[in-house]
């Protein structure tokens, strides 16, 4: 690749034009672009100790801490047991800390470093830039959830799921929804530091009122029906329902519709309000 330049009075800088496409890379397809961005983001994830700590370690240790609290709960009346609370809770932790909170910090960091702005000068579309950055934590969240499900099943002796398709659907919806909500929260997050604060409302709300730690079945009916509309509630409902197998088709559809509605809303908000460069 050392085809010289046809210099007309210009300085001789070798290799400015490689000529005739020799050794040129392929056309950048959306999949290739997202793969390149995701690969870089995965490398960065491996080098960021704080993100690794909160995204991987926290979801893996929280269930252990939760177990004693759950064993104090009066679960028999709601037809649940410790395993059926712990398992959806573990997935909830993965989604909230491994995906959602981690992603808000990542988007904020890339915006601060002007990486998002720089990427927008190139071929990737806006959605590809955001999706490429989200891919590593989404995959991490998925793997983590599966590991936790396996661990819970073994340790707590949980019977196999009665309606596995609902659990799978719930987990996938949860991953997509948490990535989209991460981008929404990033629109109001100025810096990496402030991400620790801006992620709190959804994390706390979901832990307490979406059934992550306290099953909705234990709440008063009136409150429970309102809480069922919170973003993460349908995800937990579907996952728990997947194991108990006693979710009616009507309830399942309602949960899917709620999760999809939140996702659509989040995507709309991101398209409308996402900031690609820092405020000056």
């Amino acid at each position: 690749m050392s085809t010289g330049v046809g210099t007309r009075g210009g300085a001789d800088v070798p290799g400015v034009r490689g000529g005739a496409g020799v050794g040129r890379g392929p056309v950048a397809t959306p999949a290739r672009r997202m793969a390149a961005l995701a690969r870089a983001e995965l490398t960065l994830l491996g080098r960021s100790r704080s993100t690794l700590l909160s995204a991987v370690l926290v979801p893996l240790t929280l269930p252990v801490a939760l177990r004693s609290a759950v064993s104090q709960m009066d679960l028999d009346e709601a037809g649940l047991d410790v395993g059926l609370v712990m398992l959806p809770a573990s997935i909830g932790f993965s989604l909230l800390f491994g995906v959602y909170s981690a992603l808000v910090g990542i988007y904020a960091a890339r915006r601060e470093e002007l990486v998002l702005k720089r990427l927008r000068t190139g071929e990737p579309r806006d959605a590809e830039i955001l999706a490429g950055a989200a891919l590593p934590v989404v995959v991490t969240g998925l793997v983590q959830s599966l590991v936790l499900v396996a661990a819970c099943t073994v340790v707590l002796d949980i019977p196999p799921p009665g309606a596995p398709h609902l659990a799978v659907l719930g987990l996938l919806l949860g991953l997509v929804l948490c990535a989209a909500l991460g981008a929404v929260t990033a629109t109001v997050t100025r810096t990496v530091e402030s991400a620790q604060v801006t992620t709190l409302p959804l994390v706390l709300l979901s832990m307490t009122l979406s059934g992550v730690t306290v099953p909705l079945e234990l709440l008063p009916d009136r409150l429970a029906s309102v809480c069922a509309l919170l973003p993460l509630s349908p995800v937990i409902t579907l996952v728990r329902g997947g194991w108990t197998g006693d979710l009616s088709a009507y309830e399942a559809l309602g949960a899917v519709a709620t999760a999809l509605a939140w996702t659509v809303l989040a995507v709309f908000a991101v398209r409308r309000w996402f900031r690609w460069e820092p405020r000056r």
């Binding site: 690749m1 330049v5 046809g6 210099t7 007309r8 009075g9 210009g10 300085a11 001789d12 800088v13 290799g15 400015v16 034009r17 490689g18 496409g21 050794g23 040129r24 890379g25 392929p26 056309v27 950048a28 290739r32 672009r33 793969a35 390149a36 961005l37 690969r39 870089a40 490398t43 960065l44 080098r47 960021s48 960091a109 890339r110 470093e113 002007l114 990486v115 702005k117 720089r118 990427l119 927008r120 000068t121 190139g122 071929e123 990737p124 579309r125 690609w276």
Partner: protein, 319 residues
Amino acid sequence: MNTDEHEHVIEVTGLRRVYGGGFEAVRGIDFHVGRGEVFALLGTNGAGKTSTVELLEGLARPSGGRVRVLGHDPCADRALVRPRTGVMLQEGGFPSELTVAETARMWAGCVSGARPVPEALGLVGLDARAGVRVKQLSGGERRRLDLALALLGDPEVLFLDEPTTGLDAEGRRATWDLVRALRDTGTTVLLTTHYLEEAEGLADRLAILHEGRVAAAGTPAEVTAAQPSRISFELPEGYFVGDLPPLAALGVSGHEVRGRVVRLRTHELQRAATGVLVWAERAGVELRALDVRPASLEEAFLGIARKASGADRAEERVV
């Protein structure tokens, strides 16, 4: 593809950009850049250079007017324009924890027909730094990495926002050589700079921006020619400006006297200088501190900055 030499690769008409707070950074500018041209946007900080370039890059929609790059709207027809353009922003835009090679590999995956990464880094002399993290690079090395990424896709049109800011003399020269070599292979280059010698040495044509407007435009020679040349000297004791031949007859368009020092402005330097010197010779006068100075881009630039900061804000359009 249209390879007509007079094809306008970049066309800007009545361009305006108003920011959220109401600040009007770009106030109606027009220019065009032909294929294979190097065009410089020159101006002081805050003149509107970056605001303009960002509209050309398609990062934002204009508040008014029109931008066409390669015949398309760079914002709406992004997918058509981006594979053919290369962009270097004023500031970095790389994750600090990636190495130079990792950054280039990421970018190469996003570019159609990318050069091999080592080749791109070699173009800017960064091949030896491939394994170094971006955060450990010097400011100049970061500029060069940015340039390497802008060149990865072998673009037809290159936007360079202050490409040599922060570079040392050697790095600046290397960048200039690269830009010239690119122009020689037919690449169209639009660059912004506040270095006059950079615009003068690189640009086929340029526009001087001031407060969001084009204050002067044309080839460096045209912009310079529109400025008067200057003659200054010190008259000896007992002589006054009135003793000189009628100034208008010498082609002098204006003059000022400060103590014994006389300054003349003229667009006919040879005629005016000859007139003054012939008079001095005949009158037996010694003109001390004689200084005859042709117009320069620097004079044009400073003149524009001066004029606009004074009361006279009339728009001066040279071309």
